[in-house]
Amino acid sequence: MGAVGAIKSYIETMIRDSEPGYKIMLMDRETTAIVSLVMAMSEVMKQEVYMFEQVEQMSSGENMSYLKCVVFVRPTPENISLLCRELQQPRYGAYYIYFSNVVSKASVKQLAESDEQELVREVQEIYADYMALAPHIFTLNIPRPITGMRWASGCLQRSMQGLTSLVFSLSLLPDVRYQANSDLARQLADEIRMMITMEGAVVASSSTGNSSYGFAQYNNSYNNSSNGAIPSSVVIILDRRDDPITPLLHQWTYEAMVHQLLGVNGGRVSLADVPGIAEELKEVVMTPTQDEFYAKSMYLNYGEIGQTIKQLMEEYQGKLSKQQKVESIADMKHFVQNYPQFKQMSGTVSKHVTVVGELSRVVSARRLLQVSECQQELVCGTDHSPNLQRVHELVRDPGISAEDAAVLVMLYAIRHQTHANNDTRGLVSALRKRSVNDRYIKLVSAMLEYGGEAARQSTLFSSPLPQDVSAFKKLLFKGVKGVENVYTQHKPLVLETATQAVKGRLKESSYPFIGTAPQNAAARPQTVILFIIGGATYEESAAIHQLNCTLASPAGGTATPSARVLLGGTHILNTPAFLESVEAAVEGTTRTSHRL
């Protein structure tokens, strides 16, 4: 089961268990995001939930005692006290309370003592404390998890809660591994392991259907879980600092482009800045869970998406001409019958045409093809001097935006940090000459601090592909299968890590276990959960999706694939968001080197 499926079944459980009748759903800011990412409001309304309210802004509103209230909140102290206040002066007739994670007995007691009118019917704890974007990718929406190279306050706790809730919702009791050179990763891994040890009985009892299956057995099965009922699995905590390259590159798959160039926030894309935009398109929903077309095309590249949109348009126009021919009564009936689907389709078409149009406008305005080509040559090529020359050219080119130029310099600085003829200084002064915002110039050294040679343990640039990049230019975006596209040569590091993990070949020295390593450390885990502190990207999501698709099923059957890989991050990054989080991360640290 994927992340989306788990959250959905939790929502359905909540609504189903609260008996028929009209209902209101009381959520907090985060749980609202959790629900809205996997289900459209109309979908929830079909199940008799007609109204929604946020705990943080509970109106003193009128008494609606005939309504049943489904409460779905995180078990934070603030939410508990808000709920207590609500129960002391209840506005609804019955309360069904669901906490999105493990809730303490003290909190339950506090609530129970406030419920003087005996209105609470259920108090349940479910494990839906993460935002599921697709079955294989989730986020915790923490934009700046690190300040001064330490966990920002509350973020370690939140990350632990998010990850353990994911693990529990998938009925897993995983081993925990972490990136050896990262203190942050070790801390988080420690916390996760502790939580699993404390609360893992939930999974053990539910998966065997026997509550007496106690914790002693769980502890036994923890280390040889391949024998037990719970499939073997592993959580691997990674640090973004090991791969600062991926979030700096321009992306060419549909989903990643939308996020990189327009920005997706809680499944919504704001198009308000697009010139001449229609009112209803100022903000559009872009989640694969609610848009079939998007689900089908999110991993297509820029060239393919153009084709697909064209097909969609043609299909639509075909229907349109049929629709417009309303002459007889029969035509009219037909029109009315098909109108809802038609309208839905027209919404989809106009949305995607607008989005793709805007993408292509930005691509040509910022000359992103050139920029991206240079980026790919930087990270996948090996020669220093042509790289330097090309970067110089583009940095001086006034047609390239200041931000893109700065990002190129950052990529160069990281790529050729140890090269004998490194000329980052020259590039930075070229940036200054362009009078690029001082922020970006500071960011070049910040980036070296954050993700330079000293911060990395993996060999990020070890696979030189001595291929003449320009030879492939002609095959640009033709979508020829099996041929590397010049703009998408880069493969994110996490893909390599995931592949190794699936094969059970991840080195223990680089990714040690928390606690003692299990005896079957080399065994292939059935579920691999990768979590990147500092955020994941859609490029990585697409790569993991691809990996999942190619993972062969053991017996040729389709029901049980040999393994699945889930990817998560504190946030989903695009370049601007990454730069901001890097700024926050290095804030207040003493720069060890890299005065520029």
Binding site: M51, M64, Q124, S169, N548, T558
Partner: protein, 575 residues
């Protein structure tokens, strides 16, 4: 018997057996026919597939031949084994070649299967234990207050001085000296400007500003519903009656004596009322009972709970109707859809009249839903008026949120109608139906003829192919030919068997569904003739089936009945 290939396209799909063409799934009777069919129909489609298939055919054939030559005589008992060998290879090649195209990404995360349950942990019992401990004391407290209130109202002497004594006797008043400051606002008391006052319910002390004056009407109402509520929990027959109603009806009950007595006194003398009220609002002349904030909160909460239990808003009633209609409609729809589809394709499983009736039922339900939803949408003012009749003070006016709720209910009902009823398939009229049915019959006949012809043709080609083979390997052919023939015959017999199974067997279906065994199904007029009895039983069944909306069975049963009637007439004619 003819089973040779295990073709598993998908878990959910039924398993087909026989010599199936991997591309179009046509059932062919022999390997040779399959090969011919494939070369003929699909040669252009996929060279690679064809090649691999060819190699498989030759392998399979070799296997078959091997097993045949092993035991020189074509022995029937050996056949299944050899076929099973062939089957293995077939399933291999199919899983390689035709499954992947159907499911290009078998491990696509979107296809990950959901497990049935997600873990969750209930804290409800812990919550309820903690709550009930607290609630017990809370309820006891509240009950004490209400009992005191009841006594205060019931046995009050008319004289103000005596009244005060009675009040102090019922509720022990806190000593003035113990309380130097008002416990609520924290200001000090003085003899003139801020005097001490006692709560008439708990005896606590507070200042004038911090006391709450409970109106007599409200106090009365508080006491009365307590009894009504306890009464109601005793006799649920009274459940729906409003408080005023039950008060009027059951004046004889001793529990209500208090309120009855109270209203008597009230009409008796205004002066005594003044004394009942420890404090009187000078401006309005209304009577009040001085209570502290805590007591007030408690009794109010109690009042609200009682109100809630009794008050059934119109909205709830309408909504319940809406949802039951919706559920019924939902149940009927798939039935109607299959009927309509069946009728349009010219089948005669269902009666047209039954379908029409069902359609009407669905539409009527749709209308009813629409009307209810409309009513809910415009309910607002009605709701307020209605509740104002019940109690004028405690009902808040229609707020924006209720309006929103009503609007949303209407919207979702409208959306439901739009997707389910508006696009309801039309039914053919009688004439059209006739045409459809004859067309279908013709088509079926044509298809049958075509199939026969194709089979003959394929047979011919298979013969030719075999002749070619024979030239290559004359010895093996003799055994193969014999086998082929036996295969054909067994294949066709299997076909017949399937057809037999397909024919509906009404008796069995009635038995399976279980509703046929009801007692009244066998209420038949006393007659000795078994055929007449049988007919009557069937008539009963038809009636029941109609009632249960099982139109498919109605028509099969009717057919049965007709047959019986013919039989009966024939019998009667001969005798």
């Amino acid at each position: 018997m003819a089973a040779a290939t295990d073709f598993q396209l998908n878990k959910t799909e039924e398993i087909m057996e026989g010599f199936l063409c991997p591309v179009c799934l046509q059932d062919l009777t022999s390997i040779a026919q399959l090969q011919v069919h494939f070369e003929e129909k699909h040669s252009a489609e996929d060279k690679a597939l064809l090649n691999s298939l060819k190699s498989i055919f030759s392998k399979a054939r070799k296997l078959l031949n091997d097993s045949d030559t092993e035991d020189d005589a074509p022995c029937a008992s050996k056949l299944p084994e050899s076929k099973a060998g062939g089957a293995k290879i077939y399933s291999n090649i199919f899983s390689q070649n035709s499954v992947p195209p159907c499911l290009p990404n078998c491990n696509d995360p979107w296809n990950w299967q959901n497990t049935a349950t997600v873990p969750q942990r209930s804290h409800t019992s812990l919550f309820k234990t903690i709550r009930s401990d607290r609630i017990d004391t809370y309820v006891a407290e509240t009950n004490k207050l209400l009992l005191r209130l009841d006594k205060l109202l019931a046995d009050a002497p008319s004289d103000p001085v005596k009244r005060k004594a009675q009040e102090r006797e019922l509720v022990p008043w806190v000593d003035d000296a113990c309380v130097p400051l008002c416990p609520d606002c924290g200001r000090s008391f003085s003899a003139l400007t801020r005097r001490r006052h006692h709560c008439r319910l708990c005896g606590a002390i507070m200042c004038n500003k911090c006391s709450i004056f409970m109106s007599m009407a409200f106090a009365k109402q508080l006491v009365a519903p307590v009894h009504v509520a306890t009464l109601m929990s005793g006799s649920s027959a009274q459940g729906k009656s409003s408080p005023g109603h039950s008060r009027g009806n059951s004046g004889s009950r001793h529990v209500l004596d208090g309120s009855a007595g109270f209203s008597l006194r009230r009409s008796g003398s205004q002066g005594s009322l003044n004394s009942i009220a420890s404090m009187m609002d000078q401006l309005t002349g209304e009577q009040h009972l001085r209570v502290c904030q805590h007591c007030h909160q408690r009794v109010c909460a109690r009042d609200r709970a009682v109100q809630q239990r009794q008050h059934q808003p119109l909205l709830a009633l309408l909504y319940r109707k809406l949802m039951t209609d919706r559920a019924t409609l939902y149940r009927l729809l798939p039935q109607y859809r299959t009927m309509a589809a069946s009728l349009w394709s010219g089948e005669s499983v269902y009666n047209l009249s039954d379908a029409c009736e069902l359609r009407l039922k669905v539409l009527r339900l749709g209308d009813s839903i629409n009307a209810t939803a409309q009513k809910i949408k415009t309910l607002g003012p009605v709701e307020v008026q209605q509740s104002q009749l019940n109690d004028p003070e405690n009902q808040p006016p229609l707020g924006p949120r209720q309006e929103l709720l009503q609007k949303r209910i209407y919207q979702s009902a409208a959306a439901f109608l739009k997707t389910n009823v508006l696009g309801l398939d039309k039914l053919p009229d009688a004439e059209e139906l006739q045409q459809l049915q004859t067309k279908r019959r013709e088509q079926a006949a044509r298809r049958l003829a075509e199939e026969r012809k194709a089979a003959e043709l394929a047979e011919l080609r298979a013969e030719q192919a075999l002749i070619k083979l024979r030239q290559r390997d004359a010895e093996v052919i003799t055994t193969r030919n014999a086998r082929d023939r036996s295969l054909n015959s067994s294949g066709s017999s299997a076909h017949e068997r399937r057809a037999l199974v397909h024919r509906p067997s009404p008796g069995a279906s009635v038995g399976e569904e279980g509703w046929g065994g009801d007692a009244d199904a066998h209420v038949v007029t006393a007659t000795d003739d078994p055929v007449v009895q049988q007919m009557n039983i069937i008539r009963n069944y038809i009636k029941q089936a109609r009632e249960a909306c099982r139109y498919e069975e109605v028509s099969t049963l009717e057919k049965n009945l007709k047959e019986l009637q013919v039989e009966y007439r024939r019998l009667n004619g001969t005798t």
